[in-house]
Amino acid sequence: MGPTSRTRFARGLSLVELMVALVVGLLLTAGAISVFLSNKSTHEVTSGLSRLQENARFALETMLRDLRMAGGVGCVDNVGSVSNIAMTAGDPRGVLWDLGVPESLPGAEPGVGLEGLDNVQPGTSLWSAWASPSVTKGSPEDTSRIIAGTDAVTVRYLGGLGQSAEGTVASLSVEGTPLVVAEGYAGVVDCTAGVLFKVSQASGTAVTTASPKYASASRYFQTTATNDFYPRLFPLHAARYYVGVGSGGPGHRSLYRQTLRWEDRNGNGAHDPGEVFVVDDELASGVEDMQILYGIASGDAPEEYVGAGAQKLDTPEEWRSVVSVRLGLLLRTVDEQGAQPDTRVYDVFSGGSFASLDKCAKGSGCVDPPDLRVRRRVFTTTVYLRNRT
């Protein structure tokens, strides 16, 4: 090879050229990487917030649907017209079915369709504050996962459109397949009165209850058709909502719903005695706090909103006068991301956020969530309750 060819090779890769090429290349790569990283973090934020939105939407939709129906007992106009013969002392399922007038516990207050607890603490029971002491307040009840300072609410009603029924409480004949299951709770009402009872068998078109004392309980309602209008049978819906430690781990919080549900635990596909359980379902993750206010009626319009346990809202009678519910939820993105922890205080009713607790207006829905590297959003809604007189 001659000098000409060597010069040619050297010209292509001189040190200066190489450096310039490297710098330009690095700049380009750095630019591309920064675009990539910012895109990636935008994507993470967007998907985190989308998930937060979904959780909030689901939580609100589920809760509002239940809250709206609180205290509904078919075409009877109030729970005081319903006799509760299911409520017996010592039932381990507790007072989830505390609706109507307990017949077997003389002197006990009529139950309520809506009942809240303010500032619950882990380890304390979520069961009714005033149910007769002779009623076992539910066991087992896992109260360890409850988040301190959040609110809880219980909703009870006879759900759906029901089905026509005829006969006595001891032995009802329904139209079609029973909507209720053995060991579950059901209510049968005509438009004058009703009975809430525990179903012992539901097969074919027959529904029976095991309470022999009420075998001829026809005095509670008209058991035959009046002008072709039959009493109707409904399953009892009872649900308790609270915020608890999420399944994601100790730092996670979720909205839980506690219900009575039939579960085929022995796997034979049949409704066997003892197969109705109190179940806790994790409804929506990322729900950090729930605060609830209740609208108390004075005349037609809700006069004021008070918290559970306030002086105006600490007896069953006062609970029955609640006409609306204001619900404030604080949600956070489920996964931590970013560098700065969120130290702010949120007002779950106004939607505002503040630097510290004393800047947040007193008596409202101020909550101070843990300082985590998450984004938070407040969701507030007010729902008008039907079935109030």
Binding site: G25, V35, C75, D77, C191, F229
Partner: protein, 164 residues
Amino acid sequence: MIANPRTRAACPRPRRPSAQRGAVLIVSLILLAVLTLLGLSTMSTTSLEEKMAANTQESTRAFQIAETGLARAFGTKTLSEVSPLPEETIKLSDSQRKVGEVTYAIRRNGEYLPPVGSLFSAKLFRSQHFDVESTGKTWSGDEATPVRSVHHAGAYQIIPNFQN
């Protein structure tokens, strides 16, 4: 970017620069592809979100429309004197287009004794019960596939027993 000396020796001159440009092209294409994937995934999330939000909006609207029907039905005065009972479809529109409709029907649900615990004596009064079914419909696109919300509500009137 520094070529293998053996390749350098073996390759004829014109192919080297083209090989270098190719590397830049491939690297930038890969980066672009990754960014595009990220963008596409964000876009699909967003469009899914948008659909969900639109559905929520539609169902909320259908819900409120059905409530309108209930309010209208309960606004009917002295149901016991109305015969036949009202059944009506109302079209709802904003200034530009029809946004939905509500259909409600009131049916009799029998006569019973006044509710237990009410102040009305069963001898002198009876209660006449009514069922209202209200269906709210709304659509954002095709009118043939509306979002529907069906609400049931009851009402009763205490009326005197003229016969006794």
